[in-house]
């Protein structure tokens, strides 16, 4: 079954103040079957993260289509209503980014449990599951109740990953998830990704170090330089 069918995808940035335009990619097409792991490669600044952000609609795609087979029915992610995208983010599409935006006065444990609570899991149960993951990623129990704004880059990234992985989405977008991780966390991550893949989760990832996830890769999308 095709989960995602991207055709003629395009992203252009327009900076009004300077009157400049910049094309990140155009004419991009690929198909992804349910359960496949696609890795996006190419030089620095070529638009790998931009592609993930467009699919998540943090960035507005400039053209083309991205037909996604939601459990609630087929939908074009380029044209989908904002409330539909919010619904998909809550239920089916996850995005693990490099950076965490900690919220004031919310503990690491609460942040980790939040995605489960949001979909209706009992808060006590959600916190128990969150504790298991905090431990598995090597975050020490004495910082679980601390505010993540004080955490190191690696600790913040771990927390961010837990938030993205704790509730298995159907489509998972991974933006450099291993960049600041230590060896233990990296092993936990790869094991979790394998587990998700076995469950049929489809993934699109950008990785600094491909060796870590080599065994998971089904396909590669190589982004080339675009003439402006």
């Amino acid at each position: 079954m095709t989960l995602l069918d991207v055709q003629g995808y395009q992203k252009q940035f327009v900076i009004h103040q300077s009157g400049r335009q910049f094309t990140a990619f155009r004419g991009l097409s690929f198909r992804l079957a349910a359960g496949e792991f696609l890795v996006v490669t190419g030089a620095n600044g070529i638009g790998k993260s931009t592609l993930l952000r467009c699919l998540y609609r943090t960035y507005v795609p400039s053209g083309g289509s991205a037909h996604y087979a939601s459990l609630a029915g087929p939908i074009d992610l380029v044209r989908a209503a904002e409330v539909d995208i919010l619904w998909l983010r809550k239920t089916e599409i996850g995005h693990a980014t490099q950076f965490l935006r900690p919220r004031p006065r919310v503990s690491a444990l609460e942040l980790a449990a939040e995605p489960l609570i949001r979909i209706g899991t009992d808060p006590h149960e959600a916190r128990d599951v969150a504790c298991t993951w905090l431990a598995a990623f090597g975050l020490k129990p004495d910082i679980w109740h601390a505010y993540p704004s004080t955490f190191s880059g690696g600790e913040q990234q771990k927390l961010n990953l837990i938030r993205a992985l704790i509730h298995p989405p159907r489509l998972l977008l991974l933006d450099e998830p291993t960049s600041a991780l230590d060896r233990q966390a990296r092993a936990t991550l790869v094991a979790r990704l394998q587990e998700l893949k076995d469950q049929g989760v489809t993934m699109i990832g950008v990785f600094h170090d491909l060796d870590v996830i080599r065994t998971l890769i089904d396909r590669e999308l190589y982004l080339r330089h675009v003439d402006q």
Binding site: F13, V14, I15, H16, Q17, R53, R57, T58, Y59, V60, S70, A72, G73, I75, D76, R79, A80, A81, E82, V83, D84, I85, L86, W87, L88, R101, R103, P104, R105, V106, I117, R118
Partner: protein, 281 residues
Amino acid sequence: MMPATSTTGAISSPIQTLLDPPRLVTRRPLLQTDGLLKRYGRVTAVQDVELRVYPGEMVGIVGESGSGKSTVLRLLNLQELPDEGSLILDLPGYAETNLFALDRFQRRMIQCQHIGIVYQNPYLGLRMQTSSSGNIAERLIMAGERTFQTMRQVARESLDASEFPLERMDDAPWQLSGGMQQRVQLARAIALRPLVLLLDEPTTGLDVSVQALVLDTLKHLQHELQPATVLVSHDLGVIRTLTDRALVMRHGRVVEHGLTDQILDDPQHPYTQQLVHARLS
């Protein structure tokens, strides 16, 4: 191809991306307003504003002073009438009714029972000389409550939900700090468990640490009560922390709408780009 309609925001916005109507979300919006137009003399304060808010959702309105954002909030609060436009709340018995067309008494009842508001300036929302619990009781009396015990109980519960220290519930607002005054306003707004919550710069003027606490309370209440909330703020950090979607207003019109992260990370309209980059520089 389906006809393109916008789901929130202005019809005539030049930057409007043509989006499909919602397909996966099939329930009705709780709050729906179309074609709002409000003039004060020769000044057009608000024009062509269209907005949908679903239960449990918080939508932000950003824009500089005079952009019309607070006017929109006063219209949604039924405290002023527009020159044109409609407001529909998905209430039993009123699901097809333009609330602006109701008489004053009916509007007042709906406002009192189903809409809660928090103003930037606590003097607009509170009686400063009356006790904090009395401020909340007043709201209940307006809605027809007559039992002292019930009023006391509801006041206690809503102050507690707003994380107000209960030992001070009989102090008058003038004796309280700015952060605590906002909590009393919030308690008063949520006392009757409204379907619609309107927040007009609720944390502006508070110092940063108090602001963080109030934001956190708002986030909890939003999750617990699931109202359709509209938050007006010029503070993009507040908008990012609390809202799912946002509208950008300028000169009374919506110039851009979108998912909050999109508005802040990939703004499309020249004005939004200016607004977002002004903050970062």
